[in-house]
Amino acid sequence: MDWAYLFEISLTGIASGGLYALAALAFVMVYKATKVVNIAIGEMLMIGAYLFFTCAVTFALPLWLALPASLLAAGALGALIERTMIRPLLGEPPISVFMVMVGLSSVLVGLVELIWTADQRRLPELVPNTPIMVGEAFLAPKVFYGALTASVLIAVVLLVFRFWRGGVALRATASDPAAAYSMGINVPRVFSLAWVASAMIAAVSGIIVGSIGGISSSMGVFGLSVLVVVIVGGLDSVLGALVGGLMIGLIEALAGAYLGGEYKLLVTFIVLVMVLMIRPYGLFGTHEIERL
């Protein structure tokens, strides 16, 4: 057993787990507010990355302008999705909404291939290229800065949704939409807010993921791992998203290093099946009791 190697792999795993946690946060936010299983989360990451690509490379905007511009565009897309697809399906069975998200992911992939073609693109270099050393272990700078950005952003989002009025409204809506409505909270606006915020967070994690591995129309595969993360953590738990993200990141890295790259997805999905069999509502999710 090579402990230094194990440490290095685990470090990379936890760092990429931070990215999963960020994307899972975007997922959980929408799920908490609107009870929509956003299976198109990977594609929303992708769209965010491509919007940033357009702003930063095609329009050649400076970074400080390109980043907010692409985030605004992603937020607008989130609002559009909420108004055209989620709002009309309020009260429909969850399966219908799930399938609409499947359809959405297909539309987004088609859109990206139509506008930007299916070729792989590279995002501009955002961070210095000096390797990061933690003790003896080497950590790729992009992964390190990505994880750093992700953790800062997660902290900011958590604080905002803890203390800001809109965040309180969101949590109230999540716990009981009818009661929140009667307390004067504009629930439809909270729905829009959740989607806009989620699309923006997804866009940030898309930009980070894209700057590490390049962007292409098959980036949505990342969303499958995110799906595993939120199921393992519990669909409606922010804590679960964070813990699950780190856990899946670590497991994927270990599986990739010791078993081989093709085992990565296999091992995550086996973890998923095990969690579903033992604790179907996830590690930290709410156990819903069914009544007739």
């Binding site: 088609g110 139509l114 099946v273």
Partner: protein
């Protein structure tokens, strides 16, 4: 609801084909199916076989999702199980076609039973995601097992049936379409029996169904098994039709395709599964034909693949938002219009 079809006995009420209009339509459909191969070109025969395979598989998924209410995104993986079984039997054992297809169905059925086990613990979306996991695990097994020829897959010789070599779409048509028709008849009959009714009860409210004395685990597993049997046979036909089986032949997007087909067609209706599978298989082809008709068609073919992906997604979204009961409901509306003409509705 059709007017003027009075039933005097329960047997008449439960009959599979109840009215004369329906029988006339079915006879017409049978006639068209019989005459079609003699009129059509090779391209259309190829499409007919593909449509027929998809109809069979969509019908199986409809048993599980439309009638039992269990959402599965593993249909393609079960087709893969069937296709690999047929390919391996054909290459290593050389057993006859009918036996291979049945074996493919049964192997897929076993797979379905295993995947169905979580269905008692989890349901709805969790189950859908568990089936995604199953399809990835199946893909891994196809790509890494010694039997399946790895990522290169297996190549089959043309199928033989009663001494005839089935090497053209015309010949395959006479195997694929009858098998599909048989399977459709079987499914239609299923919902006249206790088992089928139990599936519907589980879909409508599983806890109530359990109170009524329906053993949930047994019937949910049965539904999974039946649905994957259909998928397995369809996969076997697929293997005979394309003659190359690789792990990439049965991606997750294919499972989504079948789910989309029964949503667009109308869940929980035999007609829906048929219409949906036909429609969803034909849309890409019609798009291709449409683009070819446009001016500068040749330049536009570059955009065909992304447009197809988008149209596919838009169809799912559009049907769910505007026509949740699918094409079957549109068909019913049209039928009602003519039935009640000249009165409205």
């Amino acid at each position: 609801m059709r007017i003027g079809t009075l039933k005097e006995t329960y047997i008449a009420d439960a009959a599979l084909f109840d009215s004369r209009t329906q029988k006339v339509w079915l006879a017409l459909a049978a006639g068209v199916l019989l005459l079609f191969p003699f009129m059509a070109t090779d391209y259309w025969l190829y499409l007919a076989c593909l449509v027929s395979i998809n109809v069979a598989s969509a019908c199986g998924l409809n048993i599980l999702t439309g009638y039992t209410g269990l959402v599965s995104l593993g249909q393609a993986a079960f087709m893969g199980l069937g296709a690999y079984t047929v390919a391996i039997l054909e290459l290593r054992v050389g057993s006859p076609l009918v036996l291979n297809l049945l074996a493919g169905g049964f192997v897929a059925m076993l797979g379905g039973l295993v995947v169905g086990i979580p269905s008692l613990r989890v349901k709805g979306l969790y189950l859908a995601i568990a089936t995604i996991a199953a399809s990835f695990i199946a893909h891994f097994l196809f790509a890494n097992s010694a039997f399946t020829g790895g990522t290169g897959g297996l190549t089959l010789p043309p199928a033989k049936f009663l001494g005839l070599v089935l090497d053209t779409s015309f010949r395959l048509y006479w195997v694929i379409v009858p098998v599909t028709v048989l399977m459709l008849l079987g499914a239609a009959n299923l919902f006249r029996t206790r088992v089928g009714r139990a599936f519907i009860a589980i879909r409508d409210r599983d806890i109530s169904a359990e109170v009524l004395g329906i053993a949930l685990l047994r019937y949910k597993l049965l539904s999974f098994g039946l649905s994957s049997f259909y998928a397995g046979v369809a996969g076997g036909l697929w293997a005979y039709f394309f003659r190359v089986v690789t792990p990439e032949s049965f991606p997750l997007s294919m499972s989504i395709f079948f789910l989309a087909a029964i949503i667009v067609g109308g869940m929980g209706s035999m007609l829906g599964a048929i219409l949906g599978a036909v429609f969803m298989t034909m849309v890409p082809e019609l798009l291709k034909l449409g683009v070819a008709l446009l001016p500068h068609g040749a330049e536009l073919t570059v955009f065909l693949s992304p447009v197809r992906t988008m149209v596919f997604g838009l169809l799912i979204i559009g049907f769910l938002v505007f026509e949740p009961h699918g094409l079957a409901e549109v068909w019913r509306r049209v039928r009602r219009f003519f039935h009640l003409w000249p009165f409205r509705n």
